[in-house]
Point group: C2
Chain length 483, copies 2
Amino acid sequence: MEKPSIPQGTRDFGPAQVARRQHIFGVIRRTFETFGYAPLETPTLENLSVLTGKYGDEGDQLLFKVLNSGNFLVKERRGETTPLVTPEDLEAGPKVVLPKIAEKGLRYDLTVPFARYVAMNRGTLTFPFRRYQMQPVWRADRPQRGRYREFWQCDADVVGTTSLLCEAEIVLMMAQVFNGLGLDDFTIKINHRGVLRNIYQALGGEGQETDLFVAIDKLDKIGEDGVRKELLEKGFAEQTIGILFALLSVEGDYAEKLQRLLAGFVTAGVEPDGPRPTVETDDDDLDLTYYRGLQELAEVRDLLQASGFRQFDRLEFDPTLARGLSYYTGCIFEVKINNVAMGSVSGGGRYDNLTGSFGLPGVSGVGFSFGVDRIYDCLESLDLFTDTSETPTRVLLTHFDPASGRAALPLLAELRAAGIPAELYPDAGKLQKQFKYADAKGIPLVLILGPEELAAGVAKIKILKTGEEKALPLSEVVTALTV
Amino acid sequence: MEKPSIPQGTRDFGPAQVARRQHIFGVIRRTFETFGYAPLETPTLENLSVLTGKYGDEGDQLLFKVLNSGNFLVKERRGETTPLVTPEDLEAGPKVVLPKIAEKGLRYDLTVPFARYVAMNRGTLTFPFRRYQMQPVWRADRPQRGRYREFWQCDADVVGTTSLLCEAEIVLMMAQVFNGLGLDDFTIKINHRGVLRNIYQALGGEGQETDLFVAIDKLDKIGEDGVRKELLEKGFAEQTIGILFALLSVEGDYAEKLQRLLAGFVTAGVEPDGPRPTVETDDDDLDLTYYRGLQELAEVRDLLQASGFRQFDRLEFDPTLARGLSYYTGCIFEVKINNVAMGSVSGGGRYDNLTGSFGLPGVSGVGFSFGVDRIYDCLESLDLFTDTSETPTRVLLTHFDPASGRAALPLLAELRAAGIPAELYPDAGKLQKQFKYADAKGIPLVLILGPEELAAGVAKIKILKTGEEKALPLSEVVTALTV
């Protein structure tokens, strides 16, 4: 017989892992809900017409496609059967065959299904609409350490408002989740697509904005030299690249960087794209309003201050943050855990037209996502998981013989009624075996109810970790364990 | 542009639905955990070699198969590309083509993946192993009312023990879940495959056990006449069928039915298959031990009594309960909600060899399952869902102008820190619009923080349902809402 196995890049989650994952999901869920985000769940299967073309060519390749059910090779209609796939189709290759045999695929991310849901339910939804979604997604990527074919995303988005309060709240939620998980050495990086656009304008460029963003996005991986090389190849002038790095490397705190970029833009003669202040003053801050990107970043910071946010040392305005996705138009975010070697664990940004491809244009929104699998790996590397139990059971009742087993049942029922997860070892047998069971599962307490104890009307409680043991009257056991 | 849609038989769950479903999952999860069952999650994708042949021919048809990724039509090896699917394969049909282009499928139930997991991890698991699993499954069935292509199962199984305590605990868990959900007009039906076998022996039959079980299983749907007709066609004698119905229709309470079946078996000369009591007495109950099925059903009842179970009016020994699945060998269970027209909402039974097909024979276990989608429909028909909110938000803070919006931020942060889900309406605007928003989302409380209120240092709280309104000092708001 062949040994059973699971597909590459997928995982079984045993009891201890599920418990730890539920802890992560719980912190994220509570945070989302405290901020008024409502849960949404979409189907695992989506029509390929919804998914295809939304993730670029590479994404289309990575979609898992589901074979049509029944005889997928023929078309049956009014009792007549005609072949769907011909030998010529086989010659023509998978691009021709695929649409004939598969019309459904597996969810690839949570953003496209959300956009599809909003477009489909536009008539009944009340905007602004805040939703969160915590579900697995599938990508036929080459599996490797930290990259799975089935993995979980936790997204929150609000659509139907341009209020920057939403951006500020994303920072608050990110901080609340990582503080809540004990991953408190984090950095939230923030930037704005408008700032990147202004930087591009400062270089006097035209039409090659995307090339610039793509190159900047690689700074982390290929360094300044690599980016310079790439931009030279794309036809950027050496001098231009000099201005670029001067702007990208402005120093100082959040406010100082804003001011220095402002100065840089003004010097470079970048055309203001933000609203002019109605009152002209000498206040430097006001000048930020000439540039929408800088102004919005300043506003987000002010809103955070007004909300009582106190972790500005963990919030970094990083003009080099670009993020890959093409649909972002405003603020963009990314979070790293500093004391672990791991890519970003959360990210997001504002978009102006997510639902446009589903026939609902002009709905602005902002959203972000937590990568649960990476967060899990961070918590594990930092040894921040405290509970290693393989079971929710807190108390194991021992079982000597049918009589003592039966005598334990009322106490077992009482413990459970009090909400204390408890088990009676199901078979009578050696005490040693039962203790070994409790130990292997990580059950903290063992209740010994042998013939002697029953005769005396007591139960002996043993704390496995310390070996401590004490006898208690049967009637006091539940109270003792509840306190 | 084509209107976006979702595949037939799948569903989006909006905020109110997810909240209701989470309520159901929560009651089931807490029950499983209180009884010491530990969570397991298996991948959505399983190898077809694991799934195929486990659910009968019809099941194999209903499996969703996932197309191999990349160019699924060819095999690439050492730089050489050879066609995988030939024109002859197309002629031969889907049975020949399928294994060449798809090696993975979607989870069809939670039982086979559980058996696969136990077999794969036999070396590290501690037995008895109690696991629960709450995940969606997929079947390419024809969608209809109450039947979906993506639906949720909640299973709990314990393997590695033959203790009947596990059977008793299944009854306790079923009762706890339905009581907990307010579906308290339920009937838990119990039977035993051994009793059905004894009934078959009472008819003097041989080799047609399965035909009999299949026919009995249809009693509900086709009635006594239908079953009689089917059995006559299968070659059962008219007189035999008379004995059958006499045995199946024994009347009385649980204990009386056991005794009457015992008498029937003895009269019919059924060979005892249970252990003989070591001491011969006049106690009628002891005679049950001659027949394993009757004896185990009596034992389960005794264990329930000893556990303080008090709902024996909701537990029915039903000798006509057969259940479809072939792998059951001991007690079998099924639950119906009496005041709703709906099939069974839960069911299960004991099996002796679930993991055998994965190379691990002889592991006895017992398990059961809740059908969440049917339970949802029951709760909905009985109007038992009380919360109809489209959001977790409990308090909406209103927003008159940028100044009042900003002034509300500390209070908003305070509410959230106290764990009260709260939102500030993100844009300044007409109060009426903001109230409409709260109303449409089902947010119960609106906090009015206009210029007047701010000047007076108070917030006006309005309870939307009653229209009640009162002013509170800002510093007292959170305390007032927490109590």
